[in-house]
């Protein structure tokens, strides 16, 4: 990537969204990732999604861990607060942040190393708690910043680019992991397919609870060669979309597609997702059948994508804990402090 700073040009003709912002208002700093990196396409899809949903960018909190993927919050939503934390620990930061202020939109960006190796524990526990956030794994099967080691998502038989041989250890599939831990929204996309990715991101943003979006995002430098199962070529060839998600905002009239099986899910804000399943027998509301479907296709070497599972009824962390609807950070000190008289009464038990 070049290091010439791109001047910000204001295009007077740019369309504005419902809050009066242009798509430029959702962009970030220039990426320092390798040219052609799948992660940049994901950032661009994120920009598009928040713009189209007309969410004020400063009401978004973007968080990440460590790694190439975790650098990307700099490259989208400049007016949003960001937190580039430590390796594998972003889920806990997001959990605490969400507890303190439930009104912000949380997006966590992670990678296969960050979430499936060092951070596997925190990843699973954030799912269990159903923290209200969009959690994106930019999955390339490889450690980029340390120059090409296999990650925990590398498939058996996938070869390393430089002298690392062939991976023999079974991978951890974030999608299956998430479904097994009770995740309430599980999707897989491909960075090379923005038209499918943007509606998935939009639905995931508005889902109340933990929305996992695993994006196959090829590493052009270390894992895009022949023999890699996370390359552009391989993913294009073996991607099998099971469920297309069409996002329908509250205002739009609902129209159903005719050629595929369509189910609608109403999100908490009233908008809807139309799930178009390619296979009429696929049931995105049945955990067990989704797991067997993915396994079955994995055995054929196929990568199942789309909005794979959704449960809009699962209570999120703060609903489960009975925490007030008012963000805790907005409670006044007088509400929180019991006062001197209460302290006096309380202490009678210790006399």
């Amino acid at each position: 990537m070049s290091f010439i700073k791109k001047p910000r040009i204001n295009h007077p003709g740019l369309d504005t969204n419902a809050v009066g912002l242009t798509i430029q208002d959702y962009e970030g700093a220039m990426s320092t990732l390798c040219a052609g990196c799948g992660h940049d396409s994901v950032s661009s899809a994120i920009v598009q999604a928040y713009y189209e949903l007309a969410i004020e960018p400063h009401r978004v909190a973007k968080l990440s861990g460590i790694g190439c993927s975790s650098k990307t919050p700099t490259y989208f939503l400049r007016p949003a607060h960001g937190f580039n934390s430590v390796h594998g620990r972003m889920p806990s930061i997001a959990t605490g942040a969400s507890a303190a202020n439930r009104d912000l939109h949380y997006i966590g960006i992670s990678g296969d190393g960050d979430s499936l190796s060092i951070g596997l524990g925190q990843f699973c526990h954030a799912i269990r708690r159903n923290v209200n956030m969009l959690y994106v794994i930019e999955n390339n099967g490889v450690y980029g910043l340390t120059k090409g080691q296999f990650s925990a998502s590398a498939d058996v038989g996938s070869s390393a680019r430089k002298g690392g041989g062939t991976n023999e250890i079974p991978p951890i599939d974030p999608v299956l992991t998430a479904i097994n831990f009770g995740c309430s929204f599980v999707a897989r996309g491909f960075s090379g397919d923005k038209t499918t990715l943007v509606p998935l991101i939009k639905a995931a943003i508005l889902h109340r609870g933990f929305a996992l979006l695993d994006v196959i995002s090829p590493c052009v430098t270390f894992n895009d060669h022949e023999g890699s199962t996370k390359s552009y070529l391989h993913t294009r060839e073996f991607e099998q979309t099971a469920v297309y998600a069409d996002f329908v905002p509250i205002r739009d009239e609902i129209t159903a597609s005719v050629d595929t099986h369509v189910t609608s899910v109403t999100l908490h804000d009233g908008s809807q997702i139309h799930l178009r399943t390619v296979d009429p027998d696929y049931d995105p509301f049945d955990r067990d059948s989704v797991v067997s479907y993915i396994h079955e296709h994995q055995n054929k070497g196929q990568i199942v994508t789309g909005l794979l599972f959704v449960d809009e009824t699962a209570p999120d962390m703060l609903t489960l804990s009975g925490t007030t609807e008012t963000p805790l950070v907005d409670l006044s000190f007088d509400t929180l402090n019991p006062g001197a008289a209460a302290l006096k009464t309380l202490q009678k038990q210790w006399r």
Partner: protein, 603 residues
């Protein structure tokens, strides 16, 4: 020490098996003495185990209101056959040994210098009650009854305490009263009551409460306005979050909707626990976590992140015996250095050293104010002795005019008028910058990062920008030294010597100083209450060329910290160390100091 006619000045130790419900009986006993106006201290010696291992509870009756363990045992109530012989051996000459003689043991009557009082406690309880569990519980209450006769504990006080404890459960009140009466009557009939060691009403506990430090710290968090608490269970810090949860349910539940004005999260490990607190604090909530030694090791990575990104955070470390798993139910002060410099790179943290539960309450509130003011982690270094034992403390006070110090925060209205917000710009020259809160205003937005950053908060790998930030962080620590609680210094005219210490050593040192006076040695005493060391700490050494540094660890960690941070020469700081895991007693200190003085070394 002579034991004849020692009124209001002796130690009772009760030996039981853990899991047999002796806690309520022991607490009843101690509170009854406390209500008679006589100062008491309770120390619990318990195993890291759920059921079946020996446990001891020690009540020191102390007319002089000492706060530490005396180091002797005068009256033993032996309820655990496993430890009979060691319990008998541990009684001081002239003492009393009471045991459950349902099965008489001749070997326990062997010591001529100890009065042995056999009481068939199991038999008495079995005859009066039915049900295995009830019988075991009532056997414990029966020894309270026997002690009431032997020591002259006021029966009405016991009755009143039971009525308060079991409020609406009349059956429980009745059975407890029956058990007390049985023990009382048996002792009156069989022995000469009272013993030469006994109680006599005083008026020294008015305005005092009996409370443990973890409860007090949790209460401080509630009063400070903490809304998010995340934690991972670990002895001896668990009871802090148990108490916080109870207080929140009581004080923070919305009376109309039933919703909670707080969020407590039991995390999957200590890393997540501190991460959650950090995330909440980043968002502007007062958030905290608590842990003990092993947790400090695990939390170090996040402590470094909080230090470098400048996020307020309150952490309670209830220290226990290390290294590694160590002895989880024994006390120590061995995390001082680990906490002061936790994490890789150049890091240093603000530490507070409470000496008793009252200070745990006060410092909990102070910790939140300091963390917000300084935008950095504040670690409250308590320990198992303070945290889990019942201490007599002056009643906690609260000033309703208190307002939290949230420190330097630009809110939306200020950001709106700002030409450019720079997160790490030292506007006021005190090393503390202005922060913004997520969601407040687009102009306040920036990406906080643990990687190298410049004063605008942007990523940098430039030496000059990095050094600028690191030097300012050092200056901020100098500012911290002006804000933290100063030492408590007690001076004596013409002092022969000086003692420096911290935390739970305080009680033992007070007693040591009194004993030294009896030997004709007057002392000055400085109790350090925080790190970084403020000017008053430094100047104390100017007037005291040679000082005894008393602490509960093997490696003289406070002494090392003093040497490193103030440049005091090693030969001016004489280490006085105890690290066996029991609460510190004056007997652990006096001999070391007296010996040193005798050799004429001290200045």
């Amino acid at each position: 020490m002579a034991t004849e006619d020692r009124v209001n000045d002796f130690v009772i130790r009760i030996a039981t098996v853990n899991g047999t419900g002796s806690t309520s009986a022991n607490s009843l006993l101690m509170k009854a003495i406390f209500r008679m106006g006589i100062p008491v201290v309770g120390k619990n010696y318990f195993p890291s185990n759920i059921q079946g291992l020996p446990t001891w509870y020690e009540i020191r009756v102390t007319k002089d209101a000492y706060l530490s363990r005396s180091g002797h045992i005068d009256i033993m109530v032996a309820m655990n056959a496993q430890t009979y012989s060691e319990d008998l051996a541990s009684v001081q000459s002239g003492g009393v040994f009471i045991y459950d003689s349902t099965r008489r043991r001749e070997e326990l009557h062997a010591r001529a210098d100890v009065t042995v009082l056999p009481i068939p406690l199991s038999e008495l309880a079995n005859n009066a009650f039915t049900g295995a569990r009830t019988r075991i519980l009532m056997r414990n209450v029966t020894y309270v009854g026997a002690l009431a006769a032997l020591l002259e504990i006021d029966l009405n006080t016991l009755k009143q305490l039971l009525e308060e404890t079991f409020a609406n459960k009349q059956a429980l009140i009745d059975s407890n009263l029956t058990a007390i009466q049985i023990g009382y009557n048996y002792a009156r009939e069989q022995f000469n009551c009272p013993l030469s060691m006994h109680l006599s009403r005083l008026d020294k506990t008015a305005g005092y409460i009996m409370i443990d430090g973890n409860t007090a710290a949790a209460l401080g968090c509630v009063y400070a306005g903490a809304t998010v608490g995340s934690w991972y269970p670990i002895t001896p810090s668990t009871s802090l979050f148990d108490a916080f949860t109870d207080f929140c349910k009581r004080f923070r539940t919305d009376t109309e909707s039933g919703t909670q004005n707080y969020c407590i999260i039991q995390a999957e490990d200590e890393l997540a626990a501190i991460g959650m607190a950090l995330g909440a604090a980043w968002n502007g909530a007062r958030a905290f976590t608590s842990t003990s030694g092993p947790g400090i090791s695990l939390m170090s990575e996040f402590l470094g992140l909080a230090y470098f990104t400048e996020i307020p955070l309150v952490l309670f470390d209830i220290q226990r015996v290390g290294p590694s798993t160590g002895m989880p139910t024994r006390t120590q002060q061995s995390d001082i250095l680990a906490a002061a410099y936790a994490s890789h790179g150049d890091t240093r943290h603000v530490l507070l050293f409470p000496s008793d539960p009252a200070e745990c309450f006060e410092f909990a509130v102070k910790a939140f104010d300091l963390a917000d003011r300084l935008q950095t982690p504040v670690i409250v270094l308590s320990d198992l002795d303070i945290g889990m034992n019942d201490w007599p403390c002056p009643e906690l006070r609260w000033d309703d005019s208190y307002r939290p110090d949230y420190g330097k925060v630009y809110r939306a209205n200020e950001l709106r008028d700002l030409e450019r917000f720079q997160r790490y710009l030292d506007v006021d020259g005190d090393g503390i910058c202005y922060r913004s809160l997520p969601g407040d205003h687009p102009r306040g937005a920036y990406l906080i990062r643990g990687s190298g950053h410049n004063q605008a908060g942007a990523y940098t790998e430039r030496s000059d920008e990095y050094i600028e930030v690191m030097d300012r962080l050092r200056r901020k620590f100098d500012t911290a030294a002006t804000l933290v609680p100063g030492p408590i210094i007690e001076r004596t005219p013409n002092a022969d010597m000086a003692i420096v210490s911290l935390g739970s050593c305080h009680g033992a040192i007070q007693e040591t100083r009194d004993r030294l006076v009896e030997k004709g040695l007057a002392s000055d005493y400085m109790r350090i209450r925080s790190f970084p060391f403020c000017d008053d700490v430094r100047s104390f050494f100017d007037s005291h060329p040679r000082v005894f540094v008393v602490e509960q660890n093997r490696d003289a960690q406070l002494r090392s910290l003093l040497m490193t941070e103030t440049g005091i020469a090693a030969d001016r700081l004489v280490p006085v160390l105890y690290y066996g895991g029991e609460p510190l007693s004056s007997v652990d200190i006096i001999d070391v100091i007296a010996q040193d003085i005798k050799q004429g070394k001290a200045a």
